[in-house]
């Protein structure tokens, strides 16, 4: 029991102790992604923007969505979703694709998962100015609720890392995981009110989608950036609890299996 406790403590120590290394490795990921391209980091902004263009076209021109400032609504949910989905997709492959790190270095391999989450976060952060620009153009009012933003980001960071630990571990044993994860993410995306409004769903379905804690997470972003509301403190606290539990479980699971990693990757 005490051993479990001390390894839980370590789980929270790792991101702090190795923050410099995590930061540099995360920047490296982005640098490699954009090296040689003429636009460089600008792609971090351009990619979601082009995606948004497609969605906005489909929903306002074809489906005639009439919501006020719909592109802003869409963008607010889409960006953190991209952060989440990108991190999980990359985290799945993080261990199996880093043979050198796992086999030749004494650094904790948990770092590999965390680095993916952080590098995708940097990507997200880079697109925030565009979001603010949109908010300004469409005249959406934002204000005091924005102070909750860092809390939501931290919650998302821990949830994403926690899930990342699980999928990264499973991928080591079953290489099917990457495909399963990719498809699950698709389901998850459509199962959350990112493109649509929850009110458009039948009442029963509305209850169903909010069994998913991630739906609350996206909703929290929407409340501060779109509705200019404070997220309900109770739900936020619940979400934080879920994040911590998921992180701890993921970390312990990863820990229990990581000794085998050097032999398997």
């Amino acid at each position: 029991m005490t051993q479990k406790l001390s390894s839980i403590k370590e789980g929270f120590k790792i991101p702090i102790q190795y923050r410099h290394l995590i930061w540099i490795l995360a920047l490296k990921e982005l640098k490699i992604r954009y090296r040689g391209s003429a636009f460089g980091f600008f792609w971090s902004i351009l990619n979601p923007l082009l995606l948004l263009l497609i969605y906005v076209f489909v929903f306002t021109v074809i489906f005639k969505a009439s919501a006020k400032a719909y592109p802003v609504y869409l963008f607010v949910g889409l960006l953190p979703w991209n952060w989440f989905a990108g991190s999980i997709n990359e985290a799945t492959m993080s261990i199996v694709s880093s043979g050198a790190f796992v086999n030749k270095s004494t650094l904790p391999s948990e770092l590999l998962v965390i680095v993916k989450v952080v590098s995708n976060f940097i990507n997200y952060a880079l697109s925030l100015p565009v979001l603010l620009l949109f908010i300004f153009i469409f005249g959406v009012s934002i204000g005091l609720p924005l102070i909750v933003f860092p809390v939501i980001v931290i919650i998302q960071f821990f949830i994403t890392c926690g899930i990342g630990f699980f999928v990264a571990t499973w991928e080591v044993y079953y290489r099917d995981m990457q495909h399963i994860v990719m498809n699950l993410l698709q389901f998850l995306f459509f199962g959350m009110p990112i493109m649509y409004f929850e009110q458009q769903l039948p009442l029963k379905a509305q209850k169903l989608i909010f069994l998913n804690p991630l739906a609350y997470l996206i909703k929290s972003y929407q409340s501060i950036f779109y509705y200019n509301w404070f997220p309900k403190p109770f739900y936020l606290a619940l979400l934080a609890l879920v994040a911590v539990v998921v992180y701890i479980l993921g970390f312990l699971y990863f820990r229990a299996h990581k000794e085998e990693f050097p032999e398997l990757v």
Binding site: I24, L25, I32, F101, K104, S105, T106, L107
Partner: protein, 248 residues
């Protein structure tokens, strides 16, 4: 104060045979059903079998053995990258694993960026590395291409950079796995000088080599392993002779 840098006691390492490790859910599922819903116990191979030895501080220790004798596994265990099946390893001092040159190098990044990342991975702080940039680049004779991406380097330049990073880090226990004899003759001379410098500074060196002459020349003690067991340990020249006899 411990007189040993590394003490290995009754060390055994077994690996599960990887062939039996199912790589897809389907295979796993099918074999699970075929075997009558019983979990298959994977066969194991013993790579190191009940090995004990110790390495005194400030000495140079050579490890010899044929391919597959268990040398690299032993080094990984000493570094703490993998854990023993049974037995214990006691280490005293900071170990930097230099198991493979350039592990973690990325071809798209510049020489400088790679030095930083490699150094961080080997346990240095950012400040320490920044103060060593010039020294490392100078030693590798690559100062003029410090900001070029690694993919433009020749393999000789690549390996010189990797070796230079490895050698310019300041651990108490230095582990060198078959990385001597890198580069051209003048670079080799420089490398040997650096090793001599390590010895004079009182560092503990663990060297894996296939070169009997090298082991005889620089080691204080040596060990020959074969099939996971110690064949001979002690005087480097007799170990080198035993290795030569075994190989012929």
């Amino acid at each position: 104060m411990n007189i040993y840098a590394v003490e290995v006691l009754n060390l055994t390492k077994r690996f599960k045979v990887v062939e039996y490790n199912p790589t897809s859910l389907k295979t796993k599922f099918v074999s699970f059903i075929k075997s009558g819903f019983k979990r298959k116990k994977r066969p194991t191979i013993t790579v190191l079998d009940d090995i004990s030895f110790s390495i005194k501080k400030s000495t140079t220790f050579g490890i010899m053995g044929k391919n597959g004798a268990g040398k690299s596994t032993l080094l990984k265990l000493i570094c703490g990258i993998i854990t023993p099946t049974s037995g214990t390893i006691i280490r005293d001092g900071k170990i930097v694993p230099l198991l493979e040159l350039g592990a973690g190098f990325h071809p798209e990044l510049t020489a400088k960026e790679n030095i930083l990342i490699n150094g961080l991975m080997l346990g240095l702080s950012k400040k320490e590395i920044e103060s060593k940039y010039d020294e490392i680049l100078d030693f590798a004779e690559l100062s003029h291409v410090a900001n070029e991406p690694l993919r433009t380097f020749s393999s000789g330049m690549y390996i010189r950079l990797a070796f230079s990073v490895a050698i310019n880090i300041n651990p108490d226990i230095v582990i060198l796995d078959e990385i001597m004899g890198v580069g051209d003759q003048s670079f080799q001379k420089k490398s040997s000088k650096k090793i001599l410098e390590f010895q004079q500074k009182g560092k503990t060196l663990i060297i894996v080599s296939h070169d009997p002459a090298l082991v005889e020349r620089i080691c204080d003690q040596a060990m020959l392993i074969d099939k996971g067991k110690i064949v001979e340990i002690g005087n480097p020249s007799s170990v080198a002779k035993a290795y030569a006899a075994m190989s012929s």
